[in-house]
């Protein structure tokens, strides 16, 4: 009789002492004991990226060059990690808001225009635009490639959680702004006309 009670009790105690966790989350937790990607991304943002905005190529110059000679613009100003067909621009300047749509703010570099020269992306920010486009992070500084990738994800979170909310609701069509950001070019038909910028800094003038 005792045995009949003990066995289910043991099974219950065993079940209660177990926790179920997603494989990727468990592995990430282990990895983060040694490397905290969120901390690394924050330090990179505050200490490195914001202090190097002057390295961004002038947007008016870049857009003109892309329009006239896209291959020349790529050769002169783009960054390409490894042996990649994807390339990136780090650019900034002043412009006027032409229109505001869901997830996108369209910018003209001259006042009064209605054709956008570029767009600032404000939602669904994925990929490695800032990590690889700024030219300020080097894959060879990371022993573990996972850490390098995690930093990219954390940088995108900073953009979505801090950068975009700081300007997104206060801007109106016609406002003059100063901006800096990085563009990821995977498809030259879709990504260059207009150039799609992941914002690092946007301020109303």
């Amino acid at each position: 009789m005792k045995k009949i009670l003990i066995i289910p009790l043991m099974i219950l105690l065993t079940a209660l002492s177990c926790t179920i966790e997603r494989l990727d989350e468990a592995r990430q937790r282990e990895a983060q004991k040694e490397f905290n990607a969120a901390d690394y991304a924050k330090k990179f943002w505050d200490a490195t990226l914001l202090n190097n905005l002057h390295k961004a190529v002038d947007a008016a110059l870049l857009i003109r060059k892309i329009e006239n000679n896209p291959a020349g613009a790529k050769k002169e100003y783009a960054r390409t990690p490894g042996n990649s067909s994807i390339y990136y621009y780090f650019t900034g300047g002043k412009g006027y808001i032409i229109s505001i749509e869901e997830g996108m703010i369209y910018i003209g570099l001259k006042p009064g225009g209605d054709e956008p020269d570029l767009a600032i992306v404000t939602s669904e920010i994925f990929g490695n635009a800032i990590r690889d486009g700024s030219g300020l992070l080097n894959i060879n500084d990371f022993d573990n490639i996972q850490n390098f990738n995690d930093v990219s994800n954390e940088i995108n979170k900073i953009v979505l959680d801090k950068v975009v909310p700081a300007f997104n609701n206060s801007l109106r069509v016609g406002d003059k702004i100063t901006f800096t950001g990085c563009a990821e070019v995977m498809d030259e038909v879709l990504d260059l006309d207009p150039l799609l910028l992941v914002p690092v800094n946007v301020e109303k003038l």
Binding site: R22, L23, D24, R27, P81, G82, N83, S84, S85, I86, E124, F126, G127, N128, I139, N140, D141, F142, D143, N144, I145, Q146, N149, D150, S152, N153, N156, M186
Partner: protein, 313 residues
């Protein structure tokens, strides 16, 4: 006199044979160590590397580690003892394989990692790998569109100790986890293996027959998943997404059985590894160590541009 002439001829012939053998022995040897040859993708990777090495004038031998780090270690010991000049290396384990690379480095044999890297810097001369994280991200974007931003899915992971497994998975989740109406109901490793994927998904389907998609970390698992769905009568309802660009999957995309894959370029990766080894053996030393290689999204709308393991010529 006649006798002396015969002796002279024998001497000259022997000298010639010895000289030819010495000349042959001078041909440098390159080892190609592959994690497993039980997967067509890795067969292409290994064979391409060996062919490229032969084309550049080396003797090349392919070693199969059978996904076993101990077998891989034994290969390295034999390679070092046999006097190979360089190792083109596809590791079994991103952490566990570091010791083998260090052992070879200590013995003066440079290693060039292909397709998979190791979690260290300064041990391998170069690490050339597909940009798996971006591949996962590209697939994530397409996956979200295909599911209309809502649905349930299963993820089949590859070998848990291999870097590509997590790079692909994390790239995918960096997109998909932002959509609250897309839910992952199960995540399990099928070790990049077709038969294991079949078994694992069959088991998962017993509790989750209402899924909309299966995201697989490689194409072998995608084919296994498709078989499981076919057996369960769900092949027309559930979308399957793979990663690799293997021939059977590009064919399956063309036939509408698989929804999409990410094309890696094993021939590009293998050739780059061997070319860098050749440059090293000819005196070059300043190499960029970690070199990601582009991958591309292959769907039913652009399948005409692709064939197995690459683009159509």
């Amino acid at each position: 006199m006649k006798k002396n002439t015969i002796y002279l001829l024998i001497f000259m012939f022997s000298f010639l044979i010895i000289h030819i053998n010495l000349f042959a022995a001078e041909k440098s040897k390159i080892a190609v160590v592959i994690s497993t040859l039980n997967n067509p993708w890795f067969v292409v990777l290994g064979e391409t590397a060996a062919e490229k090495a032969r084309e550049l004038g080396y003797d090349a031998t392919v070693f199969d580690s059978q996904n076993d780090t101990n077998k891989e270690a034994a290969h390295f010991e034999n390679i070092i003892a046999a006097g190979y000049k360089a190792i083109i290396f596809n590791p079994t384990d991103s952490d566990g394989s570091i010791a083998n690379v260090r052992l070879a480095k200590k013995a003066g044999i440079p290693c060039f990692c292909i397709d998979r890297g190791i979690n260290s810097t300064g041990d391998a001369v170069a690490q050339i790998f597909s940009d798996n994280y971006t591949g996962g991200m590209l697939m994530g974007r397409y996956f979200v569109k295909q599911l209309g931003k809502k649905g349930k899915y299963v993820e089949l992971l590859g070998v848990l100790s291999a870097n590509p497994t997590w790079s692909r998975s994390k790239g995918f989740h960096s997109v998909v986890d932002n959509y609250k109406n897309i839910k992952m109901v199960a995540q399990q490793s099928a070790e990049f293996d077709r038969n294991k994927a079949l078994e694992v998904l069959e088991s998962i389907l017993q509790g989750h027959s209402d899924i909309d998609a299966v995201w697989c970390g490689n194409d072998a698992m995608a084919m296994g998943a498709y078989q499981a769905l076919l057996a369960a009568g769900l092949a027309d309802k559930v979308k399957v997404f793979g990663f690799d660009g293997a021939k059977d999957v590009t064919d399956a995309i063309a036939n509408g059985k698989i929804t999409a894959t990410i094309m890696q370029f094993p021939k590009t990766v293998a050739n780059m590894g061997v070319e860098k080894a050749d440059l090293y053996l000819n005196g070059k030393r300043d190499f960029e160590e970690k070199i990601p290689v582009s991958v591309e999204l292959v769907t039913q709308s652009n399948i005409s541009k692709y064939t197995g393991f690459g683009k159509k010529e």
